[in-house]
């Protein structure tokens, strides 16, 4: 009785594109701030992966769960994160959601369904599954939880255990694998030996979907289908998308290990540029539209950056230095 999946409309496409654009402009800004030495810690960007990421975040609903990973700036914005909070986190503003305690890609607001990843890859898979289990136990249905990871992340025990457990309980979990051919410098050939990561789906008894990660329309369609199937009771969905990251692992990395032939292949295409061509080809937008959208994005990003730079930084004296929420459980020996 699965309801049919609504097709991706022009306005869906444009909406998604515009989030990708903001994400790209924001990440370019982060890279520039990094080069200027203004970022606290590292910068890890998702350039080239926006089409896939936005397709996840934008098609989840309020009340769904989302645990984005490293390369999900676009998906984060689509799911409700803001340019402002992104900049606050990277620039170390005291007003950021992590209050300086954690940074960059580790931000989130778990109570809003926007989980804050820990660095240990794979760890968010069971966490989202658990969130979904709790919702089910509470009698809720029709919600979906999604998390993303890379080709490298599929090698972790956490991915395996989490996806398997979710499958046993037929939880509405979406695991989106961005196969960008490298885990840091490690090529697929040293990461796995299966012909295709999608071959893993059958081993978990979950539905597999493939997306062309450079093609926004395909990503939107594929994710829409997968999310729909999860929502309708189809159990976990494994989406594998093919693409490249068009930046280094972090901004400290020049990614010189990426093979030239790969860069030149279809995978090396920039999903944002392809989307722009598509918009123009289809006459869904004019060159003027694109320019003005970009200007708008730049204004927003620059304004936020300017604002954040004037914000206070965390004050150690105001910290209560406790990791526990219960006041009576606190202690701090050895810190006179």
């Amino acid at each position: 009785m699965a309801k049919p999946v609504a097709p991706v409309s022009t306005s869906d496409y444009i909406k998604a594109y515009r989030v990708m654009l903001v994400s790209r402009v924001l990440e370019d800004k982060l890279a520039a701030l990094y080069r200027a030495g203004m970022i606290k810690g590292g910068v890890f960007l998702g350039k080239g992966q926006e089409a896939l990421s936005v397709s996840v975040g934008i098609q989840l609903r309020r009340g769904d769960l989302f645990a984005p990973l490293i390369r999900d700036q676009a998906g984060r914005l689509a799911f409700g994160d803001t340019v402002l909070d992104t900049l606050r986190t990277y620039l170390g503003s005291a007003l950021g959601s992590m209050r300086g305690r954690d940074g960059n890609i580790h931000r989130g607001r778990p109570r809003d369904g926007y989980y804050a990843m820990i660095s240990h890859l794979g760890a968010m898979v069971p966490a989202v599954a658990g969130g979904l289990l709790a919702r089910r136990l509470r009698g809720e249905s029709g919600i979906v939880g999604a998390t993303c990871l890379g080709d490298g992340g599929t090698s972790t025990g956490a991915f395996h255990e989490g996806l398997n457990a979710a499958a046993v309980d037929k939880l509405p979990l979406l695991v989106v694998v961005a196969n960008n051919r490298y885990a840091y410098s490690t090529p697929n050939s040293r990461q796995y030996a299966c012909a295709d990561l999608l071959d893993k789906a059958a081993g978990y008894g979950v539905t597999g979907h493939r997306a062309d990660g450079t093609d926004l329309a395909d990503c939107l369609r594929t994710l829409r289908t997968a999310i729909h199937q999860a929502r309708e009771g189809g159990g976990p969905q494994l989406v594998v998308a093919d693409l490249l990251r068009l930046v280094g692992h972090g901004e400290h990395d020049d990614a010189s290990y990426v093979e030239e032939s790969l860069k030149k292949s279809r995978l090396g295409a920039d999903c944002l540029q392809l989307a722009e061509s598509h918009l123009l080809d289809q006459k869904w937008a004019s060159a003027d539209d694109l320019r003005s959208w970009r200007n708008e994005a730049e204004r927003e990003v620059n304004a936020a950056a300017d604002r954040v730079r004037r914000e206070p930084i965390p004050d150690p004296a105001e910290e209560d230095w406790t990791a526990l929420s219960t006041a009576t459980m606190r202690e701090n020996p050895g810190t006179p």
């Binding site: 769960l65 959601s97 992590m98 305690r101 954690d102 580790h106 989130g108 607001r109 778990p110 109570r111 989980y115 804050a116 820990i118 660095s119 240990h120 760890a123 898979v125 069971p126 966490a127 989202v128 599954a129 658990g130 969130g131 979904l132 289990l133 709790a134 919702r135 136990l137 509470r138 025990g157 956490a158 255990e161 989490g162 398997n164 457990a165 046993v168 309980d169 406790t322 990791a323 526990l324 929420s325 219960t326 009576t328 459980m329 606190r330 202690e331 020996p333 050895g334």
Partner: protein
């Protein structure tokens, strides 16, 4: 008579009955009732709320964390404390950091059937309370009595923070109580299990009973050991320990876990730094030996502290 194990079962039953947010997840805990039967009949009494998990400790804890974020109160069982090393990453890096990082509490309870039993061997005997106490962000409990097993587990479920609940397998069957308590000392408070004037024995878990037996032995010689049951090793009730040492002037720490950085080391560090002037003599610690827990009962009996080795240490401390 209610056993320590039954108290744990009853606490989970009460938690399930009184708090709709509570559910149980772990290996073989459903129809089978758990490897130790700590969840016996609960899956029938609370259908759909006592779930068998796959053989996946990392996922078990990870799932509990996600559930807690969504407002549930999961109690998860590790089949043995020793296997929690496979779920340790989620415990120490995810559950324990969540509140600090995001302000979202993570109210999970991870039950660890802990400690040595005869014939248990290297992988079914470990006492990991010191390991979990080292990382910030966890409450680590070591109930030593039937009453505490019950009340502290209930309090754990009510707590907004992640709890590592180190229940001791050696106490499961033979430790018994007439009835369960209505009121209890809160988590975080130690208890004077036996008052005495000559030396303070600070201990927890199954070692409480060896220490009490040692106190009996010394009483026959006319010496009175004060036995302090820590109950909770993190937070650790330094005040009660210091007050005891203030009375006795002597400190003997007894712990079943390994020595390096164990509970005994931490207690001695606290008393030495915060109550140096109270000590009339060098503090002493007794731990298990620094090897894996041996399988053979004859070796095991020597590997862990016992009433007689504790008594011997106490005699040395008292220069008897």
């Amino acid at each position: 008579m209610i056993t320590y194990l039954e108290a744990i079962r009853l606490a989970q039953q009460k938690a399930l009955a009184t708090d709709p947010r509570v559910f149980l997840y772990g290996q073989d805990i459903g129809t089978f009732g758990g490897a130790f039967k700590a969840t016996k009949n609960l899956s029938t009494e609370f259908p759909g709320r006592v779930l068998d998990s796959p053989l996946s400790e990392d996922a078990i804890v990870g799932i509990a964390i996600g559930a807690a974020i969504e407002g549930a109160r999961p109690i998860v069982e590790m089949q043995f404390a020793d296997f929690s090393t496979c779920g340790l990453n989620q415990i120490v890096n995810h559950a324990a950091t969540l509140f600090y990082r995001t302000g979202t509490p993570c109210p999970i309870v991870v039950r660890l059937p802990s400690g040595g039993t005869s014939g248990g061997g290297p992988f079914h005997s470990q006492s990991l309370e010191a390991v979990y106490s080292h990382w910030p962000g966890l409450v680590v409990l070591t109930p030593a009595t039937v009453e505490d097993a019950y009340s502290m587990l209930l309090e754990s479920v009510a707590l907004d923070d992640p709890v590592v609940f180190c229940e001791h397998k050696f106490l499961y069957y033979h430790l018994k109580a007439e009835r369960l308590p209505d009121e209890a000392l809160p988590i975080g408070k130690a208890r004077i299990a036996r008052p005495g004037r000559d030396a303070s024995v600070v201990t927890h878990g199954a070692m409480l009973h060896e220490s009490l037996a040692a106190a009996e032995l010394l009483a026959q010689d006319g010496f009175e050991l004060e036995v302090v049951d820590l109950r909770s090793v993190k937070p650790l009730d330094t005040d009660t320990v210091l007050a005891s040492v203030a009375r006795t002037g002597r400190l003997l720490c007894v712990s079943e876990e390994w020595p390096w950085g164990g509970v005994a080391a931490e207690v001695i560090a606290r008393v030495s730094t915060e109550g140096f002037g109270l000590l009339d003599a060098a503090p002493v610690r007794i731990n298990a030996k620094d090897t894996p827990v041996p399988y053979h009962p004859e070796l095991w009996a020597v590997h862990r502290p016992t009433a007689s080795t504790i008594a011997a240490a106490a005699r040395q401390l008292l220069h008897i």
